[in-house]
């Protein structure tokens, strides 16, 4: 009797379990829904412009999944699988090399007419081993602005800015002369590095010159002359080794010159500053520092093909992200300079357009294969801040530290060019 009861219970449990689990089949995304992943700022703007308007690509609905931050998006991208991954990722250009190597991104090819809407630098950023993995979306760059309440006219040389700082430091209570308010001490500070004669890599005829020395003897001379206090051997206070507090200090009138990012120009405008955007002036009049004019991209994933959405996803990329109409609609909300040249001529705000022009005038592509030190060497992103700290804070010998920096960058360039 007891044995029979257990048998019945066993069967009942199995039947109940199987029955219930059959009802609870894992949810799958709708077949003809194009899934786009984006960060916390781009996501909501894509919802307004891409997802809300159904006629960009007929026959498909578009769903935007917004992540709480850029880092959260990156974590999700790293963890994505064939079933969970999106069709399109709106992400950073330096995800391209890794995504391609890991088989998470898929290539696409543009027609000549579509390519003509972008500069060659934009494609550098989103390509790996000669294949393009996405559509350039918005330009990420920095530019220098100066406080017109302190400085009456635009400086023509780097030395002019240093002289102003030295002459007015005490009387005007300046805490620094030039600081990095946007982009950090490697990405944002490349414009200063370059203005003084250094480079992450040297571009020649639209390609990286693997034989050129990235950190020149002139750079050492210029850093010693313009940034170092001979009495202490450390930084003279004009250019701090850290970006901490820079934005606040500039807005408070304690720093006359600042390198600002194009994603936050409204903060300066709202605080009453005129956006006199300019590149960081070089040591010689007429020269200037090159900045990274990189683009974020709408990247095609390999998951799109697995989900049976490849053709639709490519159509979204070319017909919305790659079209002037789509770019203008989106950038009216996002307020960044569009990468699409035709869109830059559209109905956008002056600062957006001017940042775009600054990038075109003094921009270099951001080539992840070189900058990320992916062959095992140190990355440019870590090395340049280490250099600023070594010479400006620790007072180490400029020539020695610049030599070490040059050696690492040279290794990265050679390895990166081979990996391109």
């Amino acid at each position: 009797m007891q044995k029979n009861k257990f048998k019945k219970g066993f069967v009942a449990a199995v039947v109940l379990a199987l029955g219930a689990s059959a009802l609870a089949v894992p949810a799958k995304a709708a077949d003809k829904e194009i899934l786009v992943w984006a960060d916390e700022t781009r996501g909501p703007n894509l919802v307004k412009t891409l997802a809300a308007k159904s006629d960009w690509v007929s026959g498909y609905t578009i769903k935007i999944r917004t992540f709480s931050s850029f880092d959260a998006l990156k974590t999700a991208v790293d963890a994505a699988t064939d079933l969970t991954g999106p069709d399109i990722i709106v992400g950073a250009n330096d995800w391209v090399a890794t995504g391609a190597k890991n088989g998470k991104l898929a290539p696409l090819t543009l027609t000549a007419a579509q390519k003509a809407n972008y500069t060659a630098n934009n494609f550098f950023d989103l390509s790996y081993k000669g294949k393009l993995y996405g559509i350039p979306l918005d330009i990420n760059n920095v530019a220098m602005i100066y406080n017109e309440n302190l400085v009456s006219k635009a400086p023509k040389t780097f030395g002019e800015m240093v002289n102003y700082y030295k002459a007015n430091k005490d009387s005007k209570g300046l805490v620094a002369g030039l600081c990095i308010a946007g982009g950090g001490m490697s990405w944002g500070a490349h414009s200063v590095f370059s203005a003084l004669g250094g480079n992450a890599y040297v571009m020649k005829n639209g390609a990286v010159d693997a034989n050129a020395k990235p950190v020149s003897a002139d750079f050492v001379k210029n850093v010693k002359a313009l940034l170092i206090d001979p009495a202490t051997g450390k930084g003279n206070g004009f250019f701090p080794a850290s970006d901490t507090g820079c934005k606040k200090n500039f807005l408070d009138g304690k720093v006359p010159f600042a390198v600002v990012g194009n994603w936050e120009w409204t903060d300066y405008q709202d605080a009453g500053f005129y956006l006199n955007l300019m590149p960081v002036p070089g040591v010689k009049a007429g020269s200037n520092g090159k900045m990274f004019g990189s683009v974020s991209g709408a990247l095609l994933t390999s998951y799109a093909a697995k989900r049976g959405n490849e053709a639709g996803a490519k159509a979204v990329l070319t017909d919305f992200f790659g079209s002037a109409a789509g770019a203008v609609a989106y950038q009216k909300n996002e307020l960044r300079p569009p990468a699409n040249k035709a869109a830059a001529k559209g109905d956008l705000l002056t600062a957006q357009v001017n940042f775009g022009k600054a990038s075109a005038a003094a921009g270099i592509p951001q080539i992840g294969a070189i900058l990320n030190g992916t062959t095992g060497s140190k990355s440019y992103w870590d090395l340049l801040p280490a250099f600023w700290t070594a010479v400006l804070t620790d007072g180490k010998d400029v020539a020695t530290e610049a030599g070490k920096l040059n050696d690492f960058l040279t290794k990265n360039i050679k390895a990166g060019v081979a990996d391109l």
Binding site: A13, S58, Y60, N102, G103, K129, K131, A311, G312
Partner: protein, 511 residues
């Protein structure tokens, strides 16, 4: 009584069914994602639950089963997986499986002819229902209908053209609407529409076609790739990539996770770029764990001894000294991080110094020990307070009668007895601090690292933070190597823990 029995039996069946349902649901998800091992474990767990709770196979198992399942899922499973991954070339570029890699390489081996014209296309079906494109290039005045098997040139007079000269319809061709196109997406994306010779038209989206050819071919018999355009042959190099047989450094990407057995372990010893930083980190990890336990125990004991005798306000002090232990350590670490800030930190301001605490190796290490002392001494204060209470006061009194001074009583009576009681906890604390990732990651990030001098590991990096850097901290994620170091850490910590367990004789009670 009968009703209660029936109710409990009914409840048991329902609860078992609910647990089984949940597990089978997760197993289905795991299967759908290709995680067969996880799915297998979940099915076995389901069977174990049903058999254990609905039969009388073993009464003790009814109590142990949940713990055993969780132990396997969250302890043994990850350990086995980590050991397994440490024998693989598993890093950026070697992430997917070999069949996936071959599939991706074939797709990447399609080359677009950049000088060839592109075509505006309209998707549709032929009169016999074949997927076809109506292709137009108004500049070269070329119009044709193409399926995967044949191409038919058309004259503009046969077509309906729009204002840009793009053909919109043709005889015997039915245009697909949006819904039809979306249904056929997979077919549209994968079809190679006939062009001429080896060339074919591949759609880039739904309205543009480009001329392409396949340059990379796979031969499954010899497991090689051949590039038709360059003539290069690529062979499996045994490390998860197809490499050019004439130039082995030229590899095709993406590669795959490939077994390399004990190479990571060998590299830990033979590769100086791995061995040197690892040795430095290894020494500091032991030093850090030892100094931490020593200082925390010493201060905890000192406080316990001080508060062991009655005096005014003792209760207040007892509460105060427990506070650092009660506060979330993450918050404390971040606050201490701020206090050690060179410019704005309270410590430099208080002492009138200008020390760059986290930029100098010695100061950073000192800061790490100080912060960990703050976080950990209340634990030893609590432990030693309790242990002191357990030591009979008669022993100290007898020693005093024999003429022993207080210092002698402490060093020859109290401390040896105390160490006997707390030594398993000292060993456990050593093992815990050996893997104290939070403190290092949040306080110093493992730094300072003198990058320009070629340092890879930071001055305060311990093994676990260094492993994290190798696995996730840089653009190259070497998960295989990180797994090998994790296995070494596991062996060390397991040995220390085993020693602690044996010393405490905690398992003796099970004999």
């Amino acid at each position: 009584m009968l009703i209660t029995k029936r109710f409990s039996y009914f409840a048991k069946v329902i609860l078992t069914a609910i647990a089984s349902t949940i597990l089978i649901f997760f197993a289905q998800s795991a299967l759908a994602q290709g995680e067969t091992q996880i799915a297998l474990f979940l099915f076995i767990a389901t069977a174990a639950i049903i058999i254990t709770y609905l039969t009388r196979v073993s009464i003790p198992l009814k109590f142990f089963l949940p713990g055993m399942l969780f132990l396997f899922a969250f302890v043994l499973g990850p350990v086995i997986y980590t050991i397994s991954m440490s024998t693989f070339q598993y890093q950026t570029g070697n992430y997917i499986s070999k069949p996936q890699s071959i599939e991706r390489l074939l797709e990447l081996g399609v080359i677009s002819d950049e000088n060839a014209p592109s075509f505006d296309v309209v998707l549709g079906k032929t009169s016999i229902g074949k997927l076809a494109i109506l292709a137009s290039n108004s500049q070269i005045k070329r119009y044709f209908l193409s399926t995967k098997d044949e191409i038919t040139d058309l004259a503009p007079s046969e077509l309906t053209l729009d204002e840009n000269g793009v053909a919109q319809s043709a005889p015997n061709f039915t245009v697909l609407n949006g819904a039809d196109r979306s249904k056929l997406d997979k077919e549209i994306a994968s079809t190679r529409f006939k062009y001429q010779g080896d060339f074919f038209i591949k759609l880039e989206g739904l309205s543009a076609g480009l001329i392409n050819q396949q340059s990379l071919f796979y031969d499954s018999a010899s497991d090689t790739f051949k590039n038709k355009l360059t003539g290069a042959t690529y062979k499996d190099n045994g490390r998860g990539n197809y490499a050019n047989i004439d130039n082995p450094s030229e590899i095709l990407q993406p590669g795959w996770r490939s077994p390399i057995w004990f190479d990571h372990y060998k590299n830990l010893v033979t590769d100086p770029t791995i061995r040197k930083p690892l040795f430095k980190v290894f020494v500091w990890t032991f030093t850090f764990a030892f100094l931490t336990v020593l200082t925390q125990f010493a201060l905890g004991l000192l406080v316990a001894l001080t508060l062991n005798k009655p005096f005014f306000g003792r209760r207040f002090y007892r509460s105060i000294f427990i506070l650092p232990y009660a506060m979330p350590s993450i918050m404390s670490i971040l606050i201490w991080g701020g206090m050690f800030d060179t410019e704005f930190g309270a410590i430099n301001n208080l002492f009138g110094t200008n020390i760059a605490w986290f930029q100098n190796a010695t100061f950073a290490r000192a800061a790490v020990i100080v912060v960990n002392l703050w976080l950990g001494f209340p634990y030893f204060y609590l432990v030693t307070s309790g242990a002191l209470q357990a030591i009979p006061s008669e022993l100290a009194e007898a020693a005093a009668i024999d003429g022993a001074k207080p210092r002698q009583i402490f060093s020859r009576v109290t401390l040896p007895l105390l160490l006997q009681i707390v030594s398993p906890l000292l060993v456990a604390s050593f093992a815990f601090n050996f893997n104290n990732f939070n403190l290092i990651y949040l306080l110093t990030g493992g730094g300072p690292t003198n990058l320009l001098d070629g340092e890879i590991a930071g001055a305060t990096d311990i093994l676990i933070s260094y492993t994290y850097k190798i696995a996730f901290g840089t653009n190259i994620q070497n998960l295989g190597l990180a797994s090998a170091i994790s296995v070494i850490i596991f062996l060390i910590v397991a040995s220390i823990s085993l020693y602690g367990i044996r010393r405490s004789k905690v398992l003796d009670s099970f004999k």
